[in-house]
Amino acid sequence: MIARKLHFPICIIWMFFFFISCENQKDKNLENKVYDALIEKAEDYSTNQKYDSAFYYYFKAKEACTNNEKDRIAYALFNLADIQQKHCDYAESEATATSIIALDPNYKYIYSTYNLLGLGYLEQYNYQSAIKYFNLASKTALNQADKLVYNNNIAYTLLESKKYHQAKQLLTKTLQNKLLITDKFNYARVLDNLGFTYFKMNNTKALDYLKQSFKIRDSLKNDYELIASYVHLSEYYQNYNQSLAKDYATKAYQAATKANSPDDRLEALKLLITNANANEIKNLSLEQIQISDSINLVRQTAKTQFAKIKYDASLALKESENQKTQKQLYLSLAVFIAVLSLVLFIAIRSRNKRKLQIISYETETRIAKKLHDELANDVFNTMTFADTQNLNDPDKKELLIENLDKIYTQARNISRENNQIDTGANFEQILKEMLSGYSNAQVNIIINKINTIEWLKLQKEAKIALYRTLQELMVNMKKHSQCSLVLVGFENLKNTIEITYSDNGIGCVDMLNLKKGLQNAENRIFTIKGSIIFESENNKGFKAKITIPK
């Protein structure tokens, strides 16, 4: 088989690739990035003649399409069929190409599929079918230039099937088309084919056409194209000039080697053998057998490879689909978690806000109650006193001033119980002084190991809560306990801080009542996730144990 038409499909494919990829995007306005990436990879391998890898990626690209993306599927299928044909797997190639027609009979580039089918039949020496499909291709071709190519293919098929007359007619007609002259490659091909047809018809015009074609091809400096001219010229000179024939055969062999076309090398070797002398024949024949064997081996392995590649690709596809669904699962899970945490965050924040509002409200009412119970009563009493008594009496005046002083002290106490707390570096000192502030001639306050606590590491909220709680305990002590000793102990444990309060007062009989009075202290400790335990017996003092996390 000589390189008279092998180049056509490839040229056409390259032209189409750009068309199709562009138009796909324009037409559908739908991108399939996976497909595009896979096709690009496949094209890369195809250009480097790594057809098995190219096949793998074309197959994956096809599988990456949805059923609606007919153009994309058709393009991938076309390339698959082409690769199969290149590896002489004609049956599979034919099946693949037919599936394109089945997929979309109105496919814009259907003619290239017809051409491919035609080429397949031609390779299998089924000239009738080949001509039929080349005709279809020629009819459906979108432009004149392509039509000329297909006409040349028809003519070549006729030439192969020895219908020289018909071939000559078609080629002559094709040659008259002015468009052809602009396409030097095809012009040279048509000229070459016509020359060869004349040669077969023993017409003397043959040499002229063959030489014309050779001239054009020589100027194009394309080894691949030149092979055909050398072979035909060699065949032509066989009958007239043996040495020239041998010369051309050698050149054909060299060109085929350069172009890395094993089939053409075989053809050239055949010619060389025909023209060689007895000494050379042995070596040449051996080489011929070797090439032929290696070609067969490559093609045979390729054929079995395709099945495996197809299987691998579908496996990989399945896996990627699995990954895709897994990815989607993870994504939706992540979204779900994000939404959930957002909702939780908002809920918790609003709950905390409400809690804070409740706490501040409770504080307000507590202060209000204190003002009413402790201050307002005393102010009212003093007012009544001033109203009814004769203040000119120095004793009465003294009493009035004393009452006012009491009110003043109470007001200050209320303020002190609610003022700011310095939670900074001075906290330990301030806490100590707050506690000691409740000591007097009657009551001794003893503080145990307050310096063992790392106050700076404790949270501000915890410090405030602890300060206020102890303050409330001290106020409670002063009001009710009648004690003479108070011990406040601090213990730095592994994960918690433990504060114990104990006094030697009268204790408390009614625990329920006590808890009510210290409800606030309890709440404070709970808000910082600590705990507080009260313990009391009649006449046995009162104890409280506060545990707060570090």
């Binding site: 001033i401 004393e402 006012l404 002083d405 003043y408 002290t409 200050r412 002190r416 001075n426 000192q429 301030i430 100590k432 002084e433 000691s436 502030g437 000591s439 001794n444 306050i445 003893i446 503080i447 145990n448 190991k449 307050i450 310096n451 003479s484 000793l485 011990l487 102990g489 114990t500 104990s502 006094d503 030697n504 046995k540 003092g541 104890k543």
Partner: protein, 222 residues
């Protein structure tokens, strides 16, 4: 008596009372300022005129109002004044009762006196001024006096707890030094231990050692 005195105080009634006190005890030149900034200006001017003040009586908290001020509190005024004129005597006259804070005024700014606003503050102010005029010591209201003494806070530590524990399990006090040596607790001299025990007795209001242990047990130590 002090000749030139300035009062920084934003309440008119208190201002009047203090001015009354000052004139009663024979101060001839009395100035007053309702803002710390004004007081600052007056003190500066007096220094420039070479007729500096002898005494500053300042409140600590000043109500903030529409006026923008650089010195916002009595604390800032006191700090500035002592730096500007170290020989100026300063009495702080305030309702402030945070002992730690009051102590820090003495320690950090070397104020000369603190009079707590209260029923007896007028009397105390008189005493304070007289005391500061006659000698160079400090004055503090008797109800706050404890804050300048070391014994203000009753603190105990592990050493004391150990001591009580050892007493509670029957170690006699005169053998305690040996026991502590054995346990590796320092200091373990007889006199230190004796001092500690009497300190604890004092803290816990105990009449004797047995009493001390009984009280400590009741309070949950030992």
């Amino acid at each position: 008596m002090f000749k030139k005195v300035i009062i920084a105080e934003d309440f008119d009634s208190i201002n009047l009372a203090v001015m009354q006190v000052l004139s009663d005890i024979g101060v001839t030149e009395i100035h007053h300022a309702k803002y710390c900034d004004d007081a600052q200006l007056k003190i500066k001017k007096a220094i420039l005129d070479n007729e500096p003040f002898d005494l500053l009586i300042s409140d600590l908290s000043f109500k903030s109002d529409h006026r923008k001020v650089t010195l916002e509190s009595g604390e800032q005024l006191v700090a500035w004044a002592k730096k500007e004129q170290p020989n100026l005597k300063i009495i702080v006259h305030s309702v402030e009762d945070k002992t730690f804070f009051i102590k820090s005024l003495f320690d950090n700014y070397n104020i000369n006196g603190f009079v707590a606003k209260g029923r007896k503050s007028i009397e105390q102010l008189k005493t304070a001024i007289n005391k500061l005029y006659t000698n160079n010591t400090q004055y503090i209201s008797p109800e706050m006096a404890h804050i300048l003494q070391d014994k203000f806070i009753n603190e105990i530590d592990d050493y004391d707890i150990q001591l009580i524990k050892q007493l509670a399990i029957g170690v006699p006090q005169d053998k305690m030094d040996l026991k502590f040596q054995e346990l590796g607790i320092t200091p373990n001299s007889k006199s230190t231990i004796e001092k500690r025990v009497s300190k604890l007795k004092d803290y816990f209001k105990a009449n004797n050692t047995v009493h001390l242990i009984a009280i400590a047990k009741d309070l949950g130590i030992a």
